[in-house]
Assembly symmetry: none
Homo-oligomer: 198 residues x 4
DNA sequence: AATGAATGAGAGTTCATTCAT
DNA sequence: GATGAATGAACTCTCATTCAT
């Protein structure tokens, strides 16, 4: 469970296990995932999994924890690249929409995996996705500075704005002829008309 | 499998089976659902389930098919109450948002159940939710009549608009102090600013 | 778990399971006993065992409970046949020794099985074997009536007297050329010389 | 496997392994004993056990062999302290009973360990406990010299006499308020009345 | 010689499915 | 048609044993 004190070979095996687990959990779900197949795909023996994770549920918990940390980092990375604080609002929407999109694209199996959190070992409660929190904060700032309409519920709008991109994302994934940029454009446009103060 | 040739008692048993199945699948998922418990809750013997459905997967397929038909009907009912065709556009958005909301509220287990479609017998491919189709059609009509902006992708927008309400819906469900009408107001407002032609 | 409400066929299967279990537990012990082999020897499927006993430990508990009831009955039967209360003491010893011997002979796997009680489901604590209690009571009566020496500890002597027969029994079992009556004779003789008052 | 050619450090490790093994086998039994725990308690790695003993069964065999040698020595030590050959018979019984008692007290885990011999590597057949052999020999000598009754089967009596002490021993162990000397007194007294020639 | 991570066969247990009643 | 006892394949998890370090 601790990444401390592991040889490179061990760390690599842990990664392989987590990677194989991720694929199986995301595509099949918790119960249908067979540890024997996970082990085979990870190139280790079943017992090796149990050297690191004490049960299937703990394996999921570990995976979710790692995932969440990654998502948070990825989202801040994506948002950060635009130096968002200094960007005025119509453009800022495009940056946020783009960041959500990129994060979701980088982890397309995230919704499927988060849906499994009920099976995880107790410790890992489903955490609120970081992205929605950031959106809400951006909205509040925009409202305070007068750039955005004051007559909306920031939290609810954050959820709605996120759901918008997520849903569009799903349509894009299912329909490979579409360009992902369409989402950014449509979303930024929607945000601007919907939320700008003027 | 055929609703033909069934006595009232038999039809009633089929209903009880599907109802119990629905509860179990929605709250536990596919694999964790035990047919023995479904049978007990339906007040029949396990074997009786197999007289009507040839496997657990087929039982799910049957349930999903019935569900979809119901959702479609419910959505048209909800939209229809406003005589939507005659309603001008800013108000029409509120009607649609309200219909989506009502339909979702009436079938809160729908997302959980639809998520199981991968387990269903092959025949039942995941069907497009009827609501999104209706939205798209409404948008196309609005665009054609000049009420709505022509520079948007109707299909993508339908998905985004639906995702918006769905996501808000989830926030409402998790936060019981909020009033569902907030969603209708916020959504209709967002749709109007985002999509109206002017 | 309840013998009530079982068809003859079911009762017969339960017996077969318990019989096969007994053989395996007695000859191999708890852990080495495989339920798959028990099932095979009982002529049922593994799952059938679990219809009646919720775990391997519960199966053992059930077996021990049945065994104890049987032993107690057998011992009282054996002692009872000689109308022991009316028999004077030198002969009474022979009756008791004979009863212990018969009981032990009828259940030669008893010590091996009782030794497993630590593995049984919690409810079944190891009960004191009935035989020793009866011996002690016989000794007290003999002492009170003056037939037996008063300067011995009845309880300790009961244990010693029982250990004597049990140990001899083991030697007899291991050595098939010996006649079991030797034990009765030797034991009754030993008891008489050791314990009679005169 | 050979005690030859071992450095003091190695010999010490072997001892630690056997000691830990003994505790585990005696308190838990064969199958439930985990070599990983034995290794941990012995302060060595699992692999180190396999440098000395080729399997779990062989480890048990080795332990039993050492144990038997120890018991034999202990019994002769205990008997020998009384210069038994020269002691006349009524007293000789007390010495023997005392020796059996002492030996059993010094190795209270012996019965539990001997019971495992079925699991031991084939080579190690269950060995006759040395004490019974010595008893038998003492009885034969007593009979030959006329000190003891000639009309008893020396071997059977040896078993009975030993079972007597062993059974009393168990009662004493379970009942801590009793004094162990009671056993010696009761046993010697029983032996005398039962077996002396007069 | 010593280590302990890795292995994988095999255990107990569950539950969809069957079929005699 | 309805039942539910019976089935046995397949799951998760354990641990004696091996072997690269």
């Amino acid at each position: 469970m601790d990444d401390q004190d592991l040889s490179p070979g061990q760390r690599q095996k842990s990664s392989a296990i987590l990677a194989a687990t991720r694929t199986h959990f995301a595509t099949r779900g918790f119960e249908p995932t067979k540890l024997s197949e996970v082990a085979r795909d990870a190139g280790v023996a079943v017992g090796t999994i149990y050297l690191r994770y004490s049960s299937k549920a703990e394996l999921l918990a570990e995976l979710l924890a790692e995932l969440l940390a990654g998502v948070e980092a990825a989202f801040y990375d994506a948002v950060g690249t635009g130096d968002i604080g200094a960007t005025p609002f119509p453009e800022r929407f495009a940056l946020i929409a783009s960041a959500v999109l990129e994060t979701a694209r980088a982890q397309p199996d995230l919704p499927a995996l988060m849906a499994l959190s009920a099976f995880a070992a107790p410790a890992t409660a489903t955490p609120k996705l970081a992205m929605i929190g950031v959106m809400e904060q951006q909205l509040r700032e925009g409202i305070k500075t007068g750039a955005l309409r004051p007559d909306v519920d920031a939290k609810l709008v954050a959820h709605m704005a996120h759901g918008m991109v997520e849903s569009a994302m799903r349509e894009i994934m299912a329909n490979p002829t579409r360009a992902p940029q369409e989402i950014v454009q449509h979303s930024a446009d929607a945000y601007a008309r919907w939320l700008l103060a003027s």
